[in-house]
Amino acid sequence: MLKDFTKGIIKENPVFIIVLGLCPALGVSTKVVNSIGMGAGVIFVLLGSNIFVSLLKDFIPEKIRIPSYIVIIASFVTVVEMVMEAFIPALYDSLGVFVPLIVVNCIILGRAEAFANKNTVKSSILDALGMGIGFTLALMLISLVREVFGLGTITLFPIGNFSGVIEIPGISNAPVRVFGLAAGALLVMGFLKALFNWVGELRRVK
């Protein structure tokens, strides 16, 4: 049972191993704070869609399962979008076009199709949490590398006197801007994927 949860974090990490949902992953990963926000949105939508797909697996006929899943996912995304705009407008502004894009994030449809429609609600919840957290951690890792090298900062949430931005001396006045651009996203993704493959290989040899 616990395996349903832990597999999403490293062994079947949605970004580095299954390689799903790359479009939003690379798009928002310019700052750490964006990754956290996007990750939270994906966890919520994934949790909602997995629960409902699992609950309705006997109700939804085989022929119309894809449209039904899309309706369920799109509803959750719209809820996220409205709630985010109402209660966390700053995050809503910075995530911009990527929130509606959660609808077409392959991870969510992928988990509905590959896991939730064959398993119990309880396993589906664990799967959603594991995959969602795995996605968030992967995004945070990519954005940490990109932000540190590309901007020379680490941006988190502002709390009290802390502005939320940590400047890294030595890099922040002469950053390697390519890391912040699309090319940098692909480069960082490629190197991290190679790292994950290497670690996976080492484990197999053992």
Partner: protein
């Protein structure tokens, strides 16, 4: 035949339930969103007004980029305008508010609603971004090409040139508009 109706009915039920729940969420969040937008507009206007009195919004509907303006008055005399202008962004419109003197000088500007890419075009929302434009106009060129920028500024817009060009052109139009309005 029966099978098709049954399948269709199930899909309809799913859609109906989804629509109803979205309606409920919308009813709860909509007033909050509208209030937040109004508050944001007000805060932006206050900041742009530089302490002068803000007049009533005058809507402009001549098909140009300028959609309206608020006169700024000092002891009854119009000294500047806050101009609402729309620029062409990378994704969708760039809604700008800019305080411009009656001679066409950009006093300050702020980017409101937009759909630019986070980390690239979205950077234009930062107050420091607009420093490239403030003080320009009325004799000097309001930049809308990379070659018109200082080296450092040109570097900082890399990856978001379209946003920069959109803002630059919109501010140029707003500046002309302010000159045409004059002191009235």
């Amino acid at each position: 035949m029966k099978e098709i109706f049954k399948t269709g009915a199930k899909l309809a039920v799913i859609c109906a339930v989804a629509a109803i729940s979205l309606g409920i969420v919308n009813a709860v969040t909509d007033p909050i969103i509208i209030a937040a937008r109004a508050a944001r507009l007000n805060a932006a206007l206050q900041k742009l007004s530089l302490g002068f009195e803000i007049g009533e919004l005058v809507a402009v509907d001549d098909g140009s980029a300028v959609t309206g303006y608020y006169p700024l008055t000092d002891a009854g005399n119009i000294i500047a305008y806050i101009i609402k202008v729309i620029g062409a962004g990378y994704a969708d419109d760039l809604n700008l508010l800019s305080a411009i003197s009656i001679k066409g000088k950009i006093l300050s500007a702020v980017l409101m609603e937009n759909s630019e890419t986070p980390g690239l075009g979205k950077e234009a929302e930062n107050a420091s971004y607009m420093e490239m434009f403030t003080g320009k106009g009325d004799g000097s060129v309001i930049p809308f090409r990379k070659s018109q920028l200082e080296h450092d500024d040109a570097d900082s817009i890399t990856g978001a040139s379209i946003t920069f060009i959109g803002i630059g052109k919109a501010l140029n139009k707003a500046s002309e508009f302010a000159i045409n309005l004059g002191g009235m």
